[in-house]
């Protein structure tokens, strides 16, 4: 590659390294067929000098085909200086200490952090990291060290601080170093100059990455894992493009590896150093492999044990909160079959919703967030408090807003009313969410009453249900006859959907 040094750039300032960005850019570049395979030749139509130092990155950053839309917007024909300024300088220079960015990070957020701090465009920073990493390995070291020692945005300490106390991680890093160093010494002895020049950076990089992996925060690891997954996972969304990416990466590695080897040893002599390398590798594996494996296995089993212990503790806590509590209550109320039945029902439902729906027991004690969960909550309460079965059927669901909460409260009153007065063992509750309204029907087959001749307290209750519904734009109707049970129907138009037609005001035939 032609890059040596670029006067406009202070190497201290712009290490940036996303190998993936490099691959993506190079793939796109090749696709465009605008340039020769080798980076040294300029694309057709490029106005600058062929040997413009730093031409590599400059061309890569050319707006139309650098593979990064964020570069666009400024056209290079306006003159090189102008164009360069546009490409290099993005946002205005930031202030404050240098931090690893969270927003635009691909790997560790180092490049993004530098871009934010210096005002240099992010792709340019990344490119410099990639190029310096590939040419001398410097970019790799700089990146890893920055990752290790720069705190992330919003964090007080750097990863290095945490790594100091991670003895196992340090041991692992040392083992890796011990494994790599002899290998690299051998390659340099054999005259594989390309690789030997990388030995230092590779060792530092690998050791640093191990420490980072062991000590980085969970969100950071997750984002790194996402990048790694795009390279290693088999299927899933976008599986094809991932496979293509992997093939591209593997292809580049194989071609560059073979190219390096063939450049050094053009004939069959090639095989001899290779055999030597293989033997030495085998020796290292035999010597250090078991140790390394054991450390890795220890790490894994330690993690698994911790996960198992946590899971067990959580399950124990939940079973205690729900099942054991209920069993204790049942023992105390053994003389009241009705209460025992109600308790058993409530517990059964809670356990089932935990086992099959993944809802935590006790979470229903929290404020319900949807209508359906609110109805379940209501059912549980009424069953527990009044010893009556509430058969619930819900259709659809909706987030609970103020109006629906009022509807729910009215439904609760109606249900409690039925539990207290009807004398029926079961109350049916049907709630349906439709695009333009939500309706709830509370029905019992109890003694019923004559709505024209109700006693004062019942009328009062009906009025309170009705008034509550009316305040929120809904309506309520009660239908009953002596001996025929009672049905309260509540309807609330939905305003959240931007449709407040009260079309469900008299659904069914609840006049």
């Amino acid at each position: 590659m032609s890059y040596r040094e670029e006067p406009r750039f202070d190497p201290d300032r712009e290490p940036a390294g996303a190998g993936i960005a490099l691959i993506a850019a190079s793939a796109k570049w090749r696709d465009d067929r605008r340039v020769d395979e080798r980076t040294a030749s300029a694309p057709p139509g490029y106005p600058g000098e062929r040997h413009f130092s730093g031409g590599t990155w400059a061309r890569w950053a050319e707006p139309d085909w650098a593979g990064d839309g964020r570069l666009g917007g400024r056209h290079w024909r306006g003159g090189r200086r102008h164009w360069l300024g546009g490409v290099i300088n993005g946002a205005p220079k930031g202030s404050g200490p240098l931090r690893r960015a969270r927003a635009d990070r691909v790997i560790g957020g180092v490049a993004a952090g530098i871009a934010v701090r210096t005002g240099v465009r992010l792709p340019v920073v990344r490119l410099v990291f990639v190029v310096t990493a590939l040419t001398s390995g410097f970019g790799l070291v700089a990146y890893v060290l920055a990752w290790l020692f720069l705190p992330a945005e919003g964090e007080s300490g750097a990863i290095a601080g945490r790594a100091m106390s991670d003895l196992r991680g340090i041991a692992l890093a040392i083992v890796t170093t011990c494994t790599l160093v002899p290998l690299l010494v051998v390659t340099s002895i054999l005259g594989v100059a390309w690789l030997s020049s990388f030995s230092g950076p590779l060792v530092v990089g690998a050791a640093g990455l191990i420490l980072i992996w062991r000590n980085a925060g969970p969100d950071e690891l997750a984002s790194v894992r996402a990048v790694a997954q795009s390279l290693t996972s088999q299927a899933g969304a976008g599986g094809r493009s991932r496979i293509r990416l992997r093939i591209a990466v593997a292809g580049v590695l194989v071609v560059s590896g073979l190219g390096t080897l063939l450049a050094v040893r053009k004939t069959v002599v090639l095989l001899r150093p290779l055999a030597g390398v293989a033997l030495l590798l085998a020796a290292i594996v035999v010597l250090l492999g078991p140790w390394w494996l054991r450390i890795a296995r220890d790490l894994m089993s330690e993690r698994q044990a911790r996960v198992r212990a946590e899971e067990r503790a959580e399950i124990a806590a939940r079973v205690h909160d729900s099942v054991l509590q209920t069993l204790a209550l049942i023992q105390r109320r053994a003389d009241s079959p009705q209460q025992v039945v109600a308790l058993a029902r409530a517990q059964e439902r809670e356990l089932r919703s935990w086992l099959f729906d993944g809802r935590a027991p006790g979470s229903m004690d929290d404020l319900a967030t949807t209508l359906a969960s609110g109805v379940r909550h209501l059912q549980q309460d009424v069953e527990a408090l009044h010893g009556i079965a509430v058969e619930v059927v819900t259709v659809g669901d909706s987030a609970l807003d103020e109006d629906l909460a009022a509807l729910l409260a009215a439904a609760r009153e109606a249900t409690v009313n039925a539990a207290k007065w009807s004398g029926a063992p079961v109350v049916s509750l049907f709630a349906e969410v439709e695009p333009d309204g939500v309706s709830v029907f509370v029905r019992d087959r109890g003694r019923g009453f004559d709505p024209a001749a109700v006693s004062a307290d019942r009328k009062g209750l009906a009025e309170s249900v009705r008034a509550r519904m009316a305040r929120h734009g809904g309506s309520a109707a009660v239908r009953s006859a002596p001996g025929e049970g009672t049905e309260v129907s509540l309807t609330m138009p939905r305003t959240a959907a931007g449709d407040s037609r009260d079309s469900k005001g008299s659904k069914g035939s609840q006049a």
């Binding site: 099959f356 909706s398 439709e434």
Partner: protein
């Protein structure tokens, strides 16, 4: 249905012995229990042997879902009718059994008298929808359900993919806890018409290729 017609011959499939004897006791003399089984294989063998009129079928069995039993028996013995009986709250399980060919679904909390009534109705060839099943079906055939809704696939017969307004009304009333008789009175139609609406819903449920239903079935590896 008067008391002294021949009581329907019933076969009970449930993996809990306690529950089977409980059902037996509740059904009493109103039906004739001709056999029991606790898993898929013995159930298939037993039903083939006894040829009952109605099979009370648990949705969840150790050796597979109840729908396996329905699928195995129905081709050879179409006269055997199935009534699903379950404590399960999962709609897809229930829908899977209905799609396999069961004539109805009731929850295990049903009272003895209601269960006898349901058995008689299934024996007579009617469909039995509990409020909960009606809710599931309304959900499955929802016009504009919330959340990520897959596009309904173009069906061979688009009629099958939606319920008529009348069928919807009937289902709503069932979900509200109305009996067929009450529904008939409510809608000023005959009980027979209510029956035919329910049967038509059952047919749509079994034949529809509506995306959501097939997805439910596919999840149970039935599609």
């Amino acid at each position: 249905m008067t008391e002294h017609q021949d009581p329907p011959r019933v076969f009970i499939v449930d993996d809990h012995g306690l529950f089977r004897s409980g059902v037996r006791a509740e059904l009493g003399d109103d039906v004739q229990v001709v056999g029991e089984a606790d898993d898929v294989e013995p159930a298939i063998a037993g039903i083939r042997q006894c040829l009952p009129e109605v099979v009370l079928l648990d949705v969840h069995l150790p050796g597979g879902g109840g729908q396996v039993v329905v699928r195995e028996v129905t081709p050879d013995h179409p006269q055997v009718r199935f009534l699903a009986l379950s404590a399960s709250d999962a709609p897809e399980d229930v829908i899977a059994v209905i799609r396999a060919g069961a004539r109805g679904y009731v929850t295990k909390t049903i009272s003895g008298a209601d269960l006898v009534d349901a058995v008689r109705r299934v024996a007579a060839g009617d469909a039995v929808f509990s409020p909960r099943l009606a809710g599931f079906v309304l959900d499955a055939f929802a016009l504009q359900p919330g959340g990520p809704q897959p596009q309904p696939q173009p069906s061979f017969d688009p009629e099958l993919d939606q319920l008529t307004p009348r069928e919807r009304e009937v289902l709503r009333l069932i979900a509200r806890g109305y009996t067929y008789k009450e529904i008939a009175r409510e809608l000023y139609i005959s009980a027979k018409t209510v029956e035919s609406h329910v049967s038509s819903v059952l047919r749509k449920l079994q034949l529809s290729t509506r995306h959501q239903l097939s997805r439910w079935a596919a999840e149970r590896r039935l599609a």
